[in-house]
């Protein structure tokens, strides 16, 4: 058995800047003080003495990770946000160096984290294929050879000589993926691409990944979609806070992941170390789930409405802010996405918010959930400007369906929702 990837004790330390949070430009006075101190900062930077106090302000995104991947193996990587999955992939694809430890990688690493990197809106589809291919490390002759295949895969043959700025986002994505998928690296790294695109396209992507694995290539697959992980990988590793806490056959690893590390109190209060520094001026406080009597609950009755409360603080005024709620099943399939300013009137009133403490809450109506376990993710963003904060798995809860429609039959019902539909039955003759 040949080893394709062998990681030994790798760690990655990130410096987190205190300098960024130091000057807040709330007042004209701050701006003036900042300006006056500019020469001092310049002098310090030039002699190599950084403005920030070092030593204390760093985090280990990864610590002491060791694992081997055999050639031809398809390995799943699961973990919550901030567990270090992306950092690990970045090290494996040589984007960033580890702070300690070594990795031996046998063969070319191609990753699907870079779909569409280097695409230029002014260039045509054809030109972008060549450009993107070259960026991904393909030789020109190689691109020539696979060109027709890529175009066919992307389904944009008709528009291949049109600038991609005229493409729909779906076409753009398909073309980008087509190039990356034909790279034929010895080791393929796939990160979350499956979250985008329509169902048919996702099916194609998974198919392509399956093909790659069939050809004896090594695949690393990172996803929050547990059903995809279960379907495509035999073995998986679980990362938690930068450490590898489990390596096991996939079903076992997924079970372990789902049942560990999830707060089961019906409330998530963010601790300072869970909040990335770059989320400022946004600061999440808590996410709560309350039943109709106002009690915080971790088990929700399907027949009763449930209230979701999201409390947060703005350190500075923000415009265009929208607070998002993502409901998904524990297998990672989305049920819905909603924002607190979805309503145009609400957006008019709260699109721009002053600094201060806020609560966005909403009610999920009765007769909505099916039996099982669900996960709530949140995000705070200004559309098209910036995403301040996101936690894809902030809270998870159980649903109890006693009294729900159809419970007289003790059977498992398919689908994430269980609506009470207004059936009309009439006799026609």
């Amino acid at each position: 058995m040949t080893i394709a990837i062998s990681a030994k004790n790798i760690g990655k330390k990130y410096q987190i800047g205190a300098a960024e949070t130091k000057f807040r430009y709330n007042m004209l006075r701050d701006v003036l003080v900042d300006t006056v101190y500019a020469p001092v900062r310049l002098a310090k930077a030039l002699i190599g003495k950084s403005d920030r106090r070092s030593n204390q302000n760093f985090v280990w995104a990864l610590k002491d990770i060791s694992f081997d991947v055999a050639e031809g193996q398809v390995l799943g990587i699961v973990g919550r946000n901030g567990a270090g999955k992306s950092t690990l992939l970045k090290i494996l694809s040589r984007v960033t160096d580890p702070t300690e430890g070594t990795v031996a990688v046998r063969g070319r690493v191609g990753s699907l984290l870079e779909v569409g990197t280097g695409f230029h809106p002014e260039l045509t589809g054809r030109e972008n294929i060549y450009m993107n291919g070259a960026i991904l490390g393909m030789k020109r002759a190689e691109i020539d050879k696979k060109f027709d295949e890529m175009v066919e895969f992307s389904e944009v043959a008709q528009f291949i000589d049109t600038p991609v700025k005229r493409y729909s986002s779906g076409m753009y994505l398909r073309l980008a993926f087509a190039v990356a998928a034909h790279l034929e690296p010895e080791i393929l790294v796939v990160d979350e691409v499956l979250a985008v695109g329509d169902a048919e396209f996702q099916r194609k992507c998974l198919g392509k990944m399956g093909d790659v694995a069939q050809q004896g290539r090594t695949v690393l697959f990172v996803s929050h979609n547990m059903s995809a992980i279960l379907r495509l990988t035999q073995e998986a590793i679980v990362l938690k806070k930068g450490q590898l806490i489990k390596r096991a056959p996939t079903p076992e690893a997924v079970d372990f992941y789902l049942s560990s590390g999830q707060a089961e109190t019906g409330e998530h209060i963010w601790t300072p170390d869970e909040i990335p520094l770059n989320s400022a001026p946004f600061k999440p406080i808590a996410l709560r789930l309350k039943d109709k009597t106002g009690k915080v609950v971790d088990t929700v009755r399907s027949t009763e409405p449930v209230t979701v409360e999201w409390e947060y603080q703005l350190e500075a005024p923000l415009t265009g802010l929208r607070m998002g709620l993502y409901l998904s099943t524990m297998r990672g399939e989305y049920v819905f996405t909603a924002f607190d300013t979805d309503d145009a009137k609400q957006y008019e009133q709260f699109g721009a918010r002053q600094a201060g403490r806020y609560m966005s809450c909403c009610e999920i109506p009765a007769d909505f959930f099916n039996e099982g376990r669900y996960s709530l993710g949140v995000n705070a963003s200004s559309f098209g400007v910036r995403r301040y904060f996101m936690d894809e798995n902030a809270l998870s809860f159980n649903v109890d369906i006693s009294g729900a429609p159809g419970t007289q039959w003790p059977e498992l019902r398919q689908g994430p929702i269980r609506p009470r539909l207004d059936w009309k039955i009439e006799k026609l003759d």
Binding site: R94, V95, D97, A104, S111, G118, E122, Y130, A134
Partner: protein, 281 residues
């Protein structure tokens, strides 16, 4: 399967970089086609959706030349070593234009392509290098105009222009690339570079004998100016093409030495900062 069995994959060791990083020119060679594609893309995109297209490569230096001729020749009557001011200034404007493009595009190249830098491995040197090369296309187009001007004003270069001009062109590239390496790497961490560039360009322009003649300056100014590597470039171009000035003298060699120094130190500085680019950009 067929692809895989053809060659034995090489093993790469990823480890923390320590000390002075090796230049790793082999990787640069492997990725040489990417330089070509980047230059091709820059040139292609630059004049998209413009009415005049590539003509801009000609219009810009010609307009500069006309303005200079009016201000410095017709009004200020600056001495020009006995050469028609039009040719005199245009000869200098060519390498200067190449330098400015390379300086501005090159210094911003890493930050401008931050999505590439944070997502894919490739030798980062490719970004400033291709920015500089993209400027060569404009240079080549404007050069045709210079030939026209020389015919018009009846200026004949000496035969040795065939090897002196390429050498001075190389010197321009080395100078521009050297400065771009320094500034692009600094720009990753301190965006002050973006703010300083317009001023730097302007200051540098006046410190380079583009609009005026080097030889007619007082000697103490000549000494100061030869510390500017672009002085050597501009004087070299005038000497190679027009036979103006002193030719290779001490001042020129000082300029050359400084260019090479900036270039080599820039290479090493860039390489030593390279490992932090993806984290700090």
């Amino acid at each position: 399967m067929t692809e895989l069995t053809k060659h034995e994959p090489t093993t790469i060791y990823i480890k923390p970089a320590k000390g002075l990083a090796a230049l790793n020119l082999r990787d640069l060679w492997i990725y040489r086609e990417l330089v070509f594609f980047m230059v091709w893309r820059d040139v292609k995109v630059k004049y998209k959706q413009t009415l005049l297209g590539m003509a801009w490569a000609v219009i810009q230096p010609v307009m500069n030349m006309l303005v200079f001729t009016f201000v410095f020749d017709r009004v200020a009557r600056l001495p020009t070593d006995g050469i028609q001011y039009e040719v005199f200034s245009f000869t200098a404007l060519l390498p200067w234009g190449l330098f400015v493009t390379a300086l501005n595009q090159g210094s911003r190249s890493l930050v401008a392509h931050n999505n590439m830098v944070t997502k894919i491995y490739f030798p980062r040197l490719i970004l400033p290098i291709s920015s500089v090369f993209a400027g060569l296309v404009d240079f080549a187009i404007a050069f045709v105009i210079l030939i026209g001007l020389m015919i018009l004003f009846n200026v004949m270069p000496a035969w040795n222009v065939l090897w002196t001009l390429p050498l001075f062109l190389l010197l321009t590239i080395i100078t521009a690339l050297g400065v771009a390496l320094w500034l692009s790497a600094i720009n990753v961490k301190y965006r002050d570079v973006n703010q300083a560039l317009p001023f730097l360009t302007q200051f540098w322009f006046f410190a380079t004998p583009v609009a005026y003649s080097f030889t007619t300056l007082p000697e103490k100014f000549q000494i100061v100016l030869s510390l500017n590597p672009m002085t050597g470039v501009v004087n070299g171009f005038r000497w190679a093409l027009l036979g103006a000035g002193n030719g290779p003298d001490l001042a020129l060699w000082v300029s050359v030495a400084i260019s090479v120094l900036i270039f080599i130190s820039g290479l090493f500085y860039f390489r030593s900062m390279e490992k932090t680019f993806a984290d700090t950009i």
